[in-house]
Structures are given as structure tokens and as C-alpha cells.
């Protein structure tokens, strides 16, 4: 069971209160009409899936219902860092 720190509630809670929403920092193309099919497909579907450090978007679904980012090791499940949307992670994969 993960214990996740919600940066909005400023508390540690059990993972059951949260939902993982996939990869963080996905930027929507600024001019979607100018995208090629490949660019649009990659924005929609292609995701980082590392064995190791991963930046993820989570939501405190059964709590404050706010979104935030988590840097987590997908192999050991260790949460390295929690930070708000818009902030930059201090820990990134080599």
C-alpha cells in the first residue's frame, strides 16, 4: 500500500484515496489543425513507460479532488517526490 502525500491537503493518505492518471507533463499541441496524423497520434497515445523513474499525474479522488504530480520509481514503487501541477520536478531520470 502506497502512502501518498497530497500537496494540497498537506497530508499523507493511503493509495485507495487516489487515482493514477498516467504520464505527467503531456503538452497539447499549440496548433492542433497544423498537426500531422503522426504528431496527433503520438500526442494522443504514445507514452513513456520507463522501468525506473516516471513522472505521473495523480488525483486525490476521494479527498480534495485536486490533481498533482508524482515522481515514482516504477520498479521499486518508491515515491521520490510530489509536486504541484505547473512546478518542475527536481528528480529526473538520468
Amino acid at each position: 500500500m502506497l502512502h501518498i502525500y497530497c500537496p494540497h491537503c498537506c497530508e499523507y493518505r493511503e493509495e485507495e484515496e487516489f487515482h493514477a492518471k498516467g504520464q505527467a507533463h503531456i503538452v497539447r499541441p499549440l496548433d492542433p489543425d497544423a498537426c500531422t496524423d503522426q504528431e496527433w497520434g503520438e500526442f494522443m497515445y504514445f507514452r513513456k513507460n520507463p522501468r525506473g523513474i516516471h513522472h505521473e499525474l495523480w488525483v486525490h479522488a476521494a479527498g480534495c479532488r485536486k490533481f498533482f504530480n508524482v515522481t515514482r520509481n516504477t520498479q521499486t514503487y518508491e515515491i521520490k517526490e510530489v509536486y504541484k501541477v505547473g512546478e518542475k520536478p527536481t528528480i529526473v531520470a538520468e
Binding site: E42, Y45, F46, R47, K48, N49, P50, R51, T74
Partner: protein, 417 residues
């Protein structure tokens, strides 16, 4: 290869079963192969078997970082069915089902394929409408299926709670009589033995650490134990690790890897002689020939490569089982484990060419790979032999995420992903 038969059993009994042939060799790899298959699980071994037997390509190596059939092949709930909604998926899984039906004879190895039938329960009016649609689609594709009402379901599985005062009452089910289960380890071992007999080198305890790529064409792999091994074509069948290998080849796949758990109970007397699945309460169960209940459910919500899964998922799984089978509420669970499933955005596999020439990937089977083992191996072998994709594999190209021709099978098969 020594042929297995009743007479052979009798003959070997005279020497106290001490002179059985080893069922596969343990060769040192050659410098060059026609085809290298990365990953010695069920799909990889099936690919090697059909390459050698059906397509005459015998200069083949299977390179496995652990031991044969030690990944997801050993970590699933062994259910085999082909009741998929979309034509593309239905054709692929039905191709596999037809191979299952003759597999033990073909391999001369008992894979314990048991066509005990599979029920997909409906608990709401919408479930029942979806079931009717799917069964009709199956029948139009020549796949057996029936829509059953609650009374008929009760007759097939008397221990199922079909009373109407449940929170999620059983309103009916789809029923595929030809579906069933197979012995997962025997499937890997049977394919390995068959491939070995046709001259395929099975290289265990050897990890592929990189690809050798020249001018956008793959010409071999680098291994941790034997250095470089060359090949004309390379097929990767590495389930949960596909993204990691694709990154080494320089491209991304639309995959996310999640742990998927299964549990087995203590062995009990025969009580459940079919497979029961429910999309709505989300659990599925069958009873193995040994007597243990084999139980599975959904994937963990977050990505991960840990082969164990989260506690919360166990609780949800057993809630679903007890909802369907109150009689199991005191059965103890013996073991729990996880496999790493590589899930696609449209819940359908990728059997595909890649941006690297002569490099092929077979991945993204998500939660439903076991049932496809022979079919997946067969179409992938055909593709590797010819260098172009088999007709049944064409809709499952990784480039469908660019052109939008998705095969969106979420829930259409009667179980959520």
C-alpha cells in the same frame, strides 16, 4: 525427439523412468541466425515452433533472459475463449481457438486443454444488451455462442448466486461452450519441445541488452552472455518489457505496463466445472484440475514493473468473487502473484512492423494474452517468415495509432481491461 505414447510410458517403466530424453537441448548460440526471437514465453516459443514446423525456417534462436515460460505464461488464469466483438479481434482469437483444439496432438504433448465453456455474466439491462450484440456478432463470424437467462445460468453453475435480491443480480450471460482452460506451463514446455525438435536453439539465462542497427535496419542483437548474435530478422515478444526494448531500438510504443494479479485458493473438491467471468462486478474464476480455484480481476491503477500488485486490488477481486459465489467466502487463498501486462490504449495487441526495418514486435496483449498463444505465434511466425505481416495481424499494426484505425475492444469481450 522421443515420441510420447502409452507404449513409451510402459517401456520406460521397465527402467524405472530413468532414461527419458531431455525435452530440449541447452545449446551454445551460433554467430548468425535467420530469425532471432527475443523472449521465451508462450508467444515466443509458439512463434519459434510454427516458424520451424509450418514455414520451414529452422535456423532460429529464442533468447530468454530468465527461463522458458517464466514470465506471464506462468502468471495468468489460463482461460481460453474467442468471444470478441470486433471482427479483427474475433478472427485472431478464433484462429487461436482452432489451433488450441488440435494442439496436444500437434505437439505430442498434453497441454490439458479442457473445453469446459465460459460464461460472461450480465448484471444490468445494458450488460444484457451488450451480451446479445456480442453473441450475435460472434455467430456472424462463425464463433459459437448463446445468450442465456438467469435460470439457464443457474443450471450450468448451481453454486452461483442467481437470486434477484442481490446488489448485482445475475440477469443472464453469454455462453461459449468451446471456451475453456489449458495448462499454462505445459503450453510453454510443449512449444519449447516442439521447437527444439525442429532445430530451434533455445538460449536461456541470456538477456538481450541492445540491438545492432545499421542504416535503419536491424542486423542482430547484443546479449549479456554471448556478445553479438546476428540475424536477418528479429521478433520481440517480451510482454511487459516491450517499451524498454523498443526504447533501445529508438522508438516509442503506445504501451503502459501494469501489474495484473491472480490468486489460487487451497485445493477443494470439484465444485466449478466451467469458467465464470463478470465484467460488472469484475472478477473471474475457474477451478483447476488439481482443485484450486483460479481467480483473477483487474490491473493495478498505476503503472509498475513489480511482479506482485497492490493490496487494494486483491480486496476488490475477492469482493467480486464473494458477490458471485457467497459459498467461497471462507475458502483460503494459498498464493497470489502478479504478471506485468503491457496495455494498449485500445485494449488490442500490437503485432507489427516497426520503424526499424526487419525488426518486428508482438506485444500489447494486455490482460488477454494467454488465450492467443498459438494464434499469436502462428501469425507472427508467418510474418517473420515472409517479412510482411500476416492478413490476420495487419489490423494490429502499431501505426494504427497514427492513422486512427483502432480496434477498440474495451469491455467488448465481456471483461474490462
Amino acid at each position: 525427439m522421443q515420441h510420447y505414447s502409452g507404449f513409451g510410458l510402459l517401456k520406460h517403466s521397465l527402467s524405472h523412468h530413468e532414461n527419458w530424453q531431455r525435452i530440449w537441448r541447452n545449446p551454445t548460440p551460433k554467430k548468425k541466425y535467420d530469425v532471432i526471437i527475443v523472449g521465451g514465453g508462450g508467444h515466443g516459443l509458439a512463434t519459434a515452433y510454427y516458424l520451424a514446423k509450418q514455414f520451414g525456417v529452422t535456423n532460429v534462436a529464442v533468447i530468454e533472459k530468465g527461463y522458458l515460460g517464466g514470465g506471464n505464461t506462468a502468471r495468468n488464469t489460463t482461460i481460453v475463449r474467442s468471444n470478441y466483438l470486433w471482427d479483427e479481434a474475433a478472427h485472431l482469437y478464433e484462429h487461436s481457438m482452432k489451433l488450441w483444439e488440435g494442439l496436444s496432438q500437434d505437439l505430442n504433448y498434453n497441454v490439458m486443454f479442457s473445453q469446459r465453456g465460459c460464461l460472461n455474466l450480465g448484471h444490468t439491462l445494458q450488460d444484457m444488451r451488450d451480451i446479445e450484440r456480442r453473441v450475435n456478432a460472434n455467430r456472424l463470424n462463425g464463433i459459437d455462442g448463446e445468450v442465456l437467462d438467469a435460470q439457464q445460468v443457474k443450471e450450468i453453475v448451481p453454486i452461483l448466486d442467481c437470486s434477484s435480491d442481490r446488489r448485482y443480480p445475475v440477469m443472464g450471460a453469454s455462453w461459449q461452450p468451446r471456451a475453456g482452460v489449458a495448462r499454462h506451463d505445459a503450453v510453454a514446455w510443449g512449444f519449447a519441445r516442439g521447437a527444439d525438435a525442429h532445430g530451434v536453439d533455445l538460449i536461456q539465462q541470456t538477456e538481450v541488452v541492445d540491438f545492432i542497427i545499421e542504416d535503419g535496419t536491424v542486423i542482430g542483437v547484443k546479449t549479456d552472455r554471448y556478445g553479438e548474435i546476428r540475424a536477418d530478422r528479429v521478433g520481440c515478444v517480451v510482454a511487459g518489457n516491450s517499451s524498454v526494448l523498443a526504447a533501445k531500438a529508438g522508438f516509442e510504443l503506445p504501451l503502459e505496463s501494469h501489474p495484473l494479479q491472480a490468486l489460487v485458493s487451497e485445493p477443494i473438491k470439484p465444485i466449478l466445472d466451467t469458467v465464470v467471468m463478470s465484467n460488472h462486478v469484475h472478477g473471474y474464476a475457474s477451478q483447476s484440475d488439481k482443485g484450486d480455484l483460479v481467480i483473477g480481476a483487474g490491473i493495478d491503477g498505476y503503472t509498475g514493473y513489480g511482479q506482485r500488485g497492490s493490496y487494494g486490488t486483491i480486496e476488490h477481486t475477492l469482493q467480486a468473487i464473494v458477490e458471485m459465489f457467497p459459498i467461497f467466502s471462507r475458502v483460503r487463498m494459498n498464493r497470489q502473484w502478479g504478471g506485468i501486462v503491457d496495455t494498449c490504449p485500445d485494449a488490442c495487441p500490437i503485432v507489427s512492423e516497426t520503424p526499424v526495418k526487419n525488426l518486428f514486435f508482438n506485444c500489447g496483449w494486455g490482460t488477454g494474452g494467454f488465450k492467443a498463444t498459438p494464434g499469436s505465434g502462428n501469425v507472427f511466425a508467418a510474418s517473420l517468415a515472409k517479412g510482411e505481416m500476416h492478413e490476420l495481424a495487419k489490423p494490429f499494426s502499431m501505426f494504427r495509432y497514427h492513422n486512427g484505425a483502432l480496434v477498440d475492444e474495451h469491455g467488448a469481450a465481456g471483461v474490462a481491461h
